[in-house]
Symmetry: C2
Subunit: 347 residues, 2 copies
Amino acid sequence: MLGSMAALLPVDAAPGQEAGAAPLISAPRLVPARSLPVPGTVSPPLQAVIGAPYPTGWDAIPTSPEAWRALAAQSSAAVAPHLPAIRERLGVTVEPSRIAGVNVFIVTPNDLPTANRDRLLVHVHGGGYVLYPGEAGAGEAMLMAGYAGYKTVSVDYRMPPDHPFPAALDDAMAVWRDLSGRQDPRRMGIFGSSAGGGLTLAMVLRAKAEGLPLPGAIAPGTPWADLTGAGDTLQANAYVDNVLVSYAGWVGAAASLYAGGQRLTDPLLSPIFGDFQGFPPAILTSGTRDLFLSDTVRVHRKLRQAGVEASLQVFEGQSHAQFLTPFVPETEEAFREIARFFARHLG
Amino acid sequence: MLGSMAALLPVDAAPGQEAGAAPLISAPRLVPARSLPVPGTVSPPLQAVIGAPYPTGWDAIPTSPEAWRALAAQSSAAVAPHLPAIRERLGVTVEPSRIAGVNVFIVTPNDLPTANRDRLLVHVHGGGYVLYPGEAGAGEAMLMAGYAGYKTVSVDYRMPPDHPFPAALDDAMAVWRDLSGRQDPRRMGIFGSSAGGGLTLAMVLRAKAEGLPLPGAIAPGTPWADLTGAGDTLQANAYVDNVLVSYAGWVGAAASLYAGGQRLTDPLLSPIFGDFQGFPPAILTSGTRDLFLSDTVRVHRKLRQAGVEASLQVFEGQSHAQFLTPFVPETEEAFREIARFFARHLG
């Protein structure tokens, strides 16, 4: 009968229900069309990011292997012209290399803090397991090196349509196996966002299963932890998020393409279905408009249920992975928090 | 030109903008009408809560002092019949009392853990500063006593229309001054949700200003920290949240009523505008559908910026303060987390 009371009443006394009656699930909620203004509660550069229109092509789903390859090439080509300025302004050096037969980019801060000399991060990039081949994928590693002061190895893993699951995970694990055998894994972290956040979690699951050393800490950013798309914000933030926009766009299609016929509930594809016991400390990052906010908070809760130290940061007004936007104050803030978390847990 | 790339591009390269051009704020985003299903990613009892329709009367704004008084009476009358079962099932004893001339309810777990014998919590209830006079307001304190095992003093503070700001804060401070002078404040915590979360923050601001002792930790649940209503989720989660529904309902009107002519940006009314330096460790709780998710994460970020230890937990699919629903697994989980946080910080 009245506003906020519902939250203080037992389930069986929720509005519209008789006390003692069996719980009644209503029809889906009809949310009316709305005009969503740009919030004044974030920095002006971030306001520009939040105010941007939906990306052209968000709902264009490639229908052939060639079209997927073209999309991947296009994604990296769009980022490439910006990489020199990013390297320069962040003060980082990027060196292509190979580790255990896998292409990587080694990203080093020009001014590496003494405390981080013996520390190393492994980065797995985002892009729905289909975008950002080559150096474009290492952009997040440049932010980590520049804003957080960590040397980082970014894995340029194989991707569909030519190399579906588990190729990306195999590549990331090959790099992890090699590096963690050569230096103290307790001084190493793994991080990545979106698909890279999912891969970060899958790497720990697989390292556990194979008896490999675990990293000292992880930082899954807005992890794509449930490829089945069950999280509530995939609905609630649809058309609110101006990066992915909706799971009905290319990203939902990328889930099937990456899975390559494997069940989407396989924990190495959708880590939310895995066992998080024994995981290293984790810091998770998302935004209030993020399509994957649910994936992020579900992982956070499940880590806490498993007794794992897990820290959650959610940024005002941000859509999917917008904490990766270079040269925005909130991006620096996000990475400084991750830097502090790693500093506390890496040896 | 393509899905998730926006997040990896500098601001001036966001979609729809020429590189190097001045940031361009687009028109407000038009979010289409949508059907929002009940998520399968939460417990069945919580599904019933999430699936409930909007509360009747959420958009009925009282237009006279008599109507506000009637609304307050109605809110407590709706909760009252459920209190005996809540006390019984949670195993708590509730005793009305007075401290420093203020009405309080002393809520004690029938089985008080030894570790908590010397600890005490002060509770300030929610309800937009207008609802839940009397024992109904102590419901959250019963959850804390029952699920978390803490003895709790719940303040039955004075409210508008008869007693606008700062009456509620004055009452809460009188209780705090008295109790913190009689026992070790480092073993004491303050908590509350919604208006109670805002009051919790305002109490610390005022204790700082008056040189009173600070508590050892605080737990502001989905704090109403910005009465101006500037947070992004007040728009993004409008009509998604099935508790408050929209700031255009009674809750927005309650802001002016409580302020009683004072500027809404006064930090004791809207703590987000205050100085959080020196705050005690804080644990904040919200939900992905919460109208006040932005208030919660903005407080979290601002605490972190001030160097305060601050922990954030966000529950899947929950609208405003639904972590207070009795007898739901997620409610127990939320309070157990708060209990652990208090145990770590209270002496």
